[in-house]
C-alpha cells in the first residue's frame, strides 16, 4: 500500500449525470461540480452510448463552458448601423421577445411562409419542427440537407434503417468491417469502442477513404479511392458477387423485393412499376405451383430469377433478373471500376471475395427462438458477420444517395442486414420503406400545417409545389429540383431568399447554424448576400434572428441575437421522436439537466420557443382559454403528448412512473431521469433483436409504442418504385404531376434510377478536369466538432491551423514544397493555403480539416489568432449553384434526388504561391467585440481548488 497521502476534498463536490453536447454523439457524462465550477467531466460507465469513455471534445467541455465567446445578453443591431458591421446594443429579454412576437404574429396572420426557421446542429428537431408546424410555415428544416440526408434517404427508402445514427455494425460479432467515407464527427465513441472490439477479436477492418487519417489509421487495409466513386466500387463488388453466385438466396427471397415482378414495357406508362394484384399486393412467380402469386402471402416459393408474361399480356421480370443483368454488365467489371475509382481491379475482386468468404463461410448463429412476420417459429438467428458503415464521404456528393444505396445493395446481397454480425437497426428503426408521413403541402394564415413540414414523398403527388410546378418552399425542397429532399436544403435558403426565388421572405431565424461562415458554401458571397438591400433600402432578407450561445460569425449578421445557454446549464430531451440514442439491443433516450447555474442573462432556446408559442397562441401550446398550456420547456416535455401516451421522453411514463415507452404523462418524469443518471434504456428481449423488419414480436412492439403505424413486415426495396415513379414523370410517362422544364425532365429520367447506380457527380460533369485535376474534400479532426471548438482553449492547442494535405510524391512532382504556400482554385474562386505533403492521401485528392479557419475576431479569439491568419475554409471554392449551362436556370449544387449539398464534388487546380506570397487569402475584416464581452485572457490557469501537493 502506498504511503499515506492527502487527497482533494470531495466533501464540497457534487456529482451530476447528464449528456454531453460537444458533438452529436450524445455520450453520458458524469460531472463533478465544485463551487458551481466544473472539476471533472468523465464518461458515464453505465451509459449505453459511451460505456464510460469520453473523447477529447467531451473532456474539453470545461473550456467550452468558460469560453470568452459566450453571449451574455440579448442584442439588437444598433439602429442606424449596417448589418454585418457588428454594432450591437444590449436589450432586455422582454424587449427582445416583444419585438419578435409582434413581427411573428404579423407574419403568421398574413403569410406564414414569410418566416423561414432553419436550425443547425441542434438535437431538438422534434420541438422545432412542431413549432414550425404550429406556426404554419412550410419553411422549416434542420441542417440535414447539407449533412446527412443522402444516407438517411438511401437507407429509409431501401432498408427501413440507415447509416449515420439509425444503425450500427454488430460490434460484438462482426468479423469484417468496411468503413466507407467516414469522417470522425458522428458516433465517434461508439465507433472507437467498436473498432477496438473488432480488432481484439481478430476481425478485419477495411477503410475506404481518400485520406488515411482518423479511423483509417488503424484499418487493416486502406483503400485509397477517388472521392465520389464509392458507388462504383460497391457495384463492382456486386458484379463480382453475381459473377460467382455469391449472394444470400434465402435472404433475398424472404426479406426483399428481389422476387417481385416488374412490368417491362419500355416507353409506355407503367413501365418499371411492380406488377400488383387488384388489392395492390406485389406479385411473384411461385416456382412450385408455377403460378403468379401474392408476394406477401406467407409460404409462397417465389422465383428469384425469371421473365414471365402475365395473363393480361404484360412482360414482367423479377427485380433480381433486372438487377443481375444490370450489374453483370462489363460496365461494372473490376477493370472498368478501377478506371473510375482508382482502386486496382484485383483489389476490388479480392474485397468482394473476402466479404463473401466471411458472410458465407464464417456464418454465425445466435441460438434464440424467434417468430417471423408470418408467425413461423425459428430456433436461431443466422448471422453473416460482415458489416459496413458509411458517412459524409458518401453523403456529400451529388451521387451520394445512389452511392449509399449501392453500399446497402452490397449488404443486402450478403444478407447482412439486421442480423447477428451485420448492420443492425436502432430503435425507432426499422420503419416502413419509406416511413409513411408525408410533407405538409399547404400553409394558410394563423393555421398549423396539417403535418410536419418534412416527410417522405413516394410519388410526384407528394411534392410541395404549386399549380405551376413551382417550389412552395424557400429552399425548393420537394420541388422537381430536389424531389426527395427529406431534410430540406438549408444551404440554399440565403441564396434563394435574396434572389426572391421562388419568393422573398420577411424573417429568417437561424438557430445554432453558422451560415455566414463554415456551414455555407461560397462564404464570401453569402456574407454579401446577407448585407444585400433592395432599391428601397430594405434588406433583401428583412429581418435576421440568430440564436446561439457563442459569438459565431453568424451572430455578426443578426438584427436580433437571442443568447442561448450552454449544454451544462439547461434541460434537454434527446427524444425517440428525434435523433435518439438507441442501441441495437435497447431502446434509449436521455436528457440534460442544469449542472451549473448560468452567470449571464441567457435563456435556453427551448424555453424561449415554448414561450413564443404561447405568446403566438399556437393551438398545441395554449389551453382552451387561450392561456399558455406549458410553463416552459421542462413542463412541455413532461406533459406534451404527440399521440396518447407518447411524449418526448419514453421512460417512467404513467402517473406512477411505471409505464415505459408508452403511458400517461408523469409529473415526476424528469426526476426519474435524473435519478437514473440521465438516460432511459429498455432492453429488447433477445428474440426481438434481429431481423426486426420481419420479426413479429418486434413489429408488434414497435406498433404498440407508436414507432410504426402497423405491425406489417418491412420489405427491403432493392428496387425503388418511388424513384421509378419520378423517373416516369421525367420521361412523360406518369399519370400525375410531371415537370415542364426539360432540365427537370432530364434530371429525373437520368438520376432516378430504381436500382442503385453510379454516375459522375453533377459538378464534375461540367468541369474541365484537365484544368482542375484534383478532387478536394474535407475531413473532420476527431478532437473538434465543426466550428464549435476553435474557441476551446485546450482543443485549439492541438489544432489551430489547417493545411491542404496532398500526396507527397504528387506534390513533389508538381514542385510544391512541404509547408509551402499554394493557390487553390476552383470554378468558383481561389484561396491561398499552406500545403502539407503526406503519404496518406490518394494521389488525385487534396483535403483539409473542416471549419478550422475563422473570421478574425469571432469566437472570442484574438484578432491575430492562427485560425484567422493561417487557417482557411475550403467553402470559398464551393458554389451553392452548379456551373451555369446554356438554356438552363441556375441549379442547386446538390444531389438531384435528395437535395443533399454536394460539398465534396469540388475539383481544383493547385499552383505554388509566388515569392513572398504567404498567409491565408482571402482575409476578412475583424469582427468587433460584442458589448459586455470581456477580453480573452492571455494566460489561463483553470482549477477548482488549491492543489494538494505531494511531498517527496
Amino acid at each position: 500500500m502506498a504511503t499515506v497521502m492527502e487527497f482533494e476534498d470531495h466533501g464540497k463536490q457534487e456529482i451530476k449525470y447528464s449528456t454531453c453536447y460537444m458533438c452529436a454523439c450524445r455520450c453520458g457524462i458524469k460531472v463533478t461540480v465544485e463551487d458551481n465550477k466544473v472539476r471533472f467531466i468523465q464518461g458515464n460507465r453505465n451509459h449505453p452510448i459511451n460505456q464510460g469513455v469520453l473523447c477529447a471534445k467531451g473532456s474539453a467541455g470545461i473550456m467550452k463552458q468558460y469560453s470568452p465567446a459566450k453571449l451574455r445578453n440579448p442584442l439588437r443591431r444598433k439602429p442606424g448601423t449596417e448589418r454585418g458591421a457588428g454594432e450591437f446594443e444590449e436589450i432586455s429579454w422582454d424587449e427582445a421577445l416583444d419585438m419578435l412576437t409582434e413581427r411573428l404574429a404579423r407574419i403568421r396572420a398574413t403569410d406564414p411562409d414569410k418566416l423561414a426557421f432553419f436550425t443547425g446542429r441542434d438535437q431538438m428537431q422534434a420541438l422545432t419542427g412542431l413549432w414550425a408546424q404550429q406556426f404554419g410555415t412550410l419553411n422549416w428544416s434542420a441542417h440535414g440537407g447539407f449533412c446527412s440526408v443522402n444516407m438517411a434517404t438511401a437507407g429509409l427508402y431501401m432498408l427501413g434503417h440507415a447509416f449515420w445514427e439509425f444503425g450500427d455494425p454488430d460490434w460484438d460479432r462482426t468479423k469484417y468491417f468496411m468503413l466507407w467515407g467516414v469522417a470522425e464527427d458522428h458516433s465517434s465513441n461508439p465507433m472507437k469502442i467498436g473498432l477496438e472490439k473488432l480488432k481484439r477479436r481478430g476481425g478485419k477492418f477495411v477503410g475506404i477513404n481518400p485520406a488515411r487519417t482518423g479511423y483509417q489509421a488503424i484499418a487493416d487495409e486502406w483503400v485509397p479511392i477517388r472521392p465520389g466513386t464509392d458507388g462504383m466500387l460497391a457495384l463492382s463488388m456486386v458484379h463480382v458477387l453475381l459473377q460467382n453466385e455469391l449472394f444470400d438466396w434465402e435472404f433475398l427471397l424472404r426479406y426483399t423485393n428481389a422476387p417481385f415482378l416488374v412490368i417491362h414495357k419500355p416507353g409506355e406508362k407503367g413501365d418499371g412499376l411492380v406488377w400488383r394484384d387488384p388489392e395492390g399486393h406485389p406479385m411473384v412467380w411461385d416456382i412450385e405451383t408455377e403460378t403468379f402469386a401474392n408476394g406477401m402471402a406467407p409460404g409462397v416459393k417465389a422465383a428469384l430469377f425469371g421473365e414471365f408474361r402475365t395473363p393480361d399480356g404484360q412482360n414482367v421480370r423479377t427485380v433480381m433478373s433486372i438487377l443481375a443483368e444490370r450489374y453483370l454488365d462489363g460496365h461494372y467489371s473490376p477493370e472498368n471500376a478501377s478506371r473510375i475509382t482508382g482502386v486496382p481491379a484485383e483489389t476490388i475482386e479480392r474485397l468482394a471475395l473476402e466479404v463473401a468468404h466471411v458472410a458465407f463461410r464464417e456464418t454465425i448463429t445466435v441460438d434464440v427462438e424467434w417468430t417471423d412476420w408470418a408467425g413461423r417459429r425459428h430456433d436461431r438467428f443466422i448471422g453473416r458477420p460482415v458489416s459496413m458503415h458509411a458517412m459524409r464521404g458518401i453523403s456529400a456528393h451529388s451521387n451520394g444517395m445512389q452511392a449509399a444505396r449501392a453500399i446497402h445493395l452490397l449488404q443486402v446481397m450478403l444478407g447482412t442486414i439486421d442480423c447477428p454480425g451485420g448492420f443492425r437497426a436502432k430503435a425507432p428503426y426499422p420503419k416502413p420503406v419509406p416511413p409513411p408521413n408525408k410533407p405538409a403541402q399547404h400553409s394558410s394564415p394563423n393555421t398549423p400545417l396539417k403535418s410536419l413540414p418534412l416527410g417522405f414523398p413516394t410519388a410526384p403527388e407528394d411534392l410541395v409545389i404549386d399549380e405551376n410546378g413551382q417550389p412552395k418552399r424557400i429552399d425548393k425542397a420537394y420541388s422537381w429540383e430536389a424531389p426527395i429532399a427529406n431534410h430540406g436544403l438549408m444551404h440554399m435558403v440565403i441564396t434563394n431568399a435574396v434572389n426572391k426565388d421562388p419568393y422573398g421572405i420577411d424573417t429568417l431565424i437561424f438557430f445554432m447554424a453558422n451560415m455566414s461562415w463554415n456551414s455555407t458554401m461560397n462564404t464570401a458571397n453569402v456574407q454579401e448576400m446577407l448585407r444585400a438591400k433592395d432599391e428601397d433600402g430594405e434588406h433583401k432578407i428583412p429581418f435576421l434572428v440568430v440564436v446561439d450561445a457563442f459569438h459565431s460569425e453568424m451572430v455578426n449578421f443578426a438584427d436580433l441575437v437571442l443568447p442561448d445557454t450552454t449544454y451544462l446549464e439547461r434541460y434537454d430531451a434527446i427524444s425517440l421522436l428525434d435523433r435518439p440514442i438507441s442501441e441495437p439491443d435497447a431502446i434509449c433516450d436521455s436528457i440534460r439537466h442544469p449542472v451549473l447555474r448560468p452567470d449571464r442573462n441567457v435563456r435556453p432556446w427551448q424555453d424561449v420557443m415554448v414561450e413564443l408559442a404561447g405568446r403566438l397562441r399556437f393551438p398545441a401550446f395554449v389551453r382552451e382559454d387561450g392561456e399558455p398550456r406549458f410553463g416552459g420547456y421542462k413542463d412541455f416535455i413532461t406533459n406534451f403528448e404527440r399521440a396518447p401516451g407518447i411524449g418526448f421522453l419514453a421512460g417512467w411514463r404513467g402517473e406512477d412512473g411505471a409505464s415505459h415507452l408508452r403511458g400517461e404523462p408523469n409529473p415526476d418524469q424528469w426526476d426519474r431521469y435524473i435519478e437514473n443518471q440521465g438516460f432511459f434504456q429498455y432492453h429488447l428481449p433477445e428474440s426481438t433483436r434481429y431481423y426486426r423488419f420481419a420479426n413479429r414480436d418486434y413489429l408488434e412492439l414497435a406498433h404498440k409504442i407508436g414507432f410504426n403505424p402497423t405491425s406489417d413486415p418491412i420489405v427491403i426495396e432493392l428496387y425503388s418504385e418511388t424513384l421509378q415513379r419520378f423517373r416516369l414523370a421525367g420521361m412523360g410517362l406518369y399519370d400525375g404531376p410531371q415537370p415542364k422544364d426539360p432540365v427537370d425532365r432530364e434530371r429525373l429520367a437520368t438520376y432516378f434510377d430504381p436500382l442503385p447506380d453510379y454516375y459522375e457527380p453533377l459538378e464534375q460533369q461540367r468541369i474541365d478536369k484537365k484544368e482542375y485535376p484534383f478532387y478536394a474534400v474535407n475531413q473532420r479532426p476527431m478532437m473538434m466538432y465543426h466550428s464549435w471548438d476553435s474557441q476551446n482553449a485546450w482543443l485549439r492547442q492541438i489544432l489551430a491551423q489547417n493545411y491542404l494535405y496532398m500526396n507527397r510524391r504528387r506534390g513533389e512532382q508538381m514542385g510544391i514544397q512541404d509547408l509551402g504556400w499554394a493557390w487553390v482554385e476552383s470554378h468558383n474562386g481561389k484561396i491561398r493555403v499552406q500545403v502539407k505533403l503526406i503519404e496518406g492521401c490518394q494521389e488525385d485528392t487534396v483535403w483539409t480539416w473542416n471549419a478550422i479557419g475563422k473570421q478574425s475576431g469571432a469566437w472570442g479569439l484574438k484578432p491575430d489568432a492562427a485560425e484567422a491568419t493561417r487557417g482557411f475554409l475550403m467553402n470559398h471554392l464551393i458554389s451553392e449553384l452548379l456551373p451555369p449551362k446554356q438554356g438552363e436556370r441556375r441549379l442547386t449544387n446538390s444531389d438531384p434526388i435528395t437535395g443533399q449539398a454536394a460539398w465534396y464534388d469540388l475539383m481544383v487546380k493547385i499552383t505554388p504561391a509566388g515569392q513572398g506570397e504567404e498567409g491565408v487569402w482571402p482575409t476578412f475584416p475583424t469582427v468587433k467585440p460584442l458589448p459586455g464581452m470581456e477580453p480573452s485572457p492571455d494566460v489561463l490557469r483553470y482549477h477548482t481548488h488549491k492543489p494538494v501537493n505531494l511531498k517527496s
Binding site: 478485419k204 479511423y215 489509421a217 402471402a297 428469384l304 492547442q797 494566460v939 482549477h943
Partner: protein, 230 residues
C-alpha cells in the same frame, strides 16, 4: 510494484481523448493548475502531461498512419530523478511512480534535459516542472469508486488503447498484454528501462478466397431458381 501504462498502437485512433482528459483532471490535480499561454491568441500553448504524435510508416500506397501517445514512462532508471539537484524529482519506492514535489522544484529544467521522452514540461507561471503523476490522486483515493481508480487517460480512452497496471505482476493486464502482443519499450538503447510499453499494430492474416470463384449462370435467363419459402 511497478506501475505504468501499456499503449496499444493497433487500436489508438489518435483522437487525443487521453491528452485532454489528463489535462482536465490535472489542471485541478496535485500539481495544479496546468497553465495555458495565449489560450485565445495567435499561438496557443500550454502545459500538458500527455501528447499524441502522429506518424506515417512506409510509403504510399503501402503507408500506415500510427498514432503515438506519450507521457511519463516512469522509468526504472529515471535519470530525471538522478540529475535533480533539489530533490524535487523523486521516484516512489513502493510503486515506481516518478513525481515532482512542487514545493521543492526550482525550475532549472535539468530533469527535462535528462528525459528522452519529453515527459516533463515547465510551467512558466509557477516556475516548476510538471509531469504525469499516473494520476496518483485518483488511483489511491479511496473516495473514488474502485473501478474509476485509474489514470484519467486510461479511464477515458475510447479505443481502449491504454491499460494501467503493475508490470511486476506477470498476470496483470499490462503484464499479459506485453507478453502476448510483443510489447516493447521506446529507445531501449538508452537503457532507461521505461515502465510504459507499446503494443505494435497487429498483422491481419489474409482471408482465404480460394474456391469462391465459380462460374455462375452465363446469362441471367439461365439461372436455376432455388426453392425458398417466403
Amino acid at each position: 510494484m511497478r506501475l505504468g501504462l501499456v499503449i496499444d498502437l493497433d487500436t489508438c485512433v489518435g483522437c487525443h481523448a487521453c491528452a485532454v482528459a489528463c489535462k482536465e483532471w490535472n489542471t485541478s490535480g496535485t500539481t495544479a493548475p496546468l497553465t495555458d499561454y495565449s489560450p485565445y491568441g495567435a499561438e496557443p500553448s500550454g502545459v500538458w502531461f500527455n501528447r499524441i504524435r502522429h506518424y506515417e510508416i512506409g510509403e504510399y500506397p503501402y503507408n500506415k498512419t500510427v498514432n503515438f501517445p506519450m507521457s511519463c514512462m516512469h522509468c526504472e532508471n529515471a535519470e530525471c530523478v538522478t540529475v535533480c539537484p533539489t530533490g524535487a524529482s523523486y521516484k516512489r519506492a513502493e510503486d515506481g511512480i516518478v513525481l515532482v514535489d512542487q514545493s521543492k522544484c526550482m525550475g532549472c529544467n535539468y530533469c527535462s534535459w535528462a528525459c528522452p521522452y519529453g515527459a516533463r514540461e515547465l510551467d512558466r507561471v509557477s516556475g516548476t516542472m510538471k509531469k504525469c503523476t499516473l494520476c496518483i490522486d485518483r488511483i489511491y483515493d479511496m473516495e473514488i469508486p474502485e473501478e474509476e481508480r485509474q489514470p484519467a487517460c486510461v479511464l477515458t480512452c475510447p479505443a481502449h488503447a491504454r491499460m494501467f497496471g503493475d508490470f511486476d505482476d506477470p498476470e496483470s493486464a499490462v503484464g499479459r498484454a506485453v507478453r502476448e502482443r510483443g510489447g516493447y519499450q521506446l529507445m531501449p538503447e538508452l537503457n532507461y528501462d521505461p515502465s510504459n510499453h507499446y503494443l505494435p499494430p497487429r498483422v491481419h492474416a489474409p482471408i482465404p478466397t480460394d474456391g469462391l470463384r465459380k462460374k455462375a449462370a452465363a446469362k441471367v435467363k439461365e439461372w436455376v431458381n432455388r426453392v425458398v419459402e417466403r
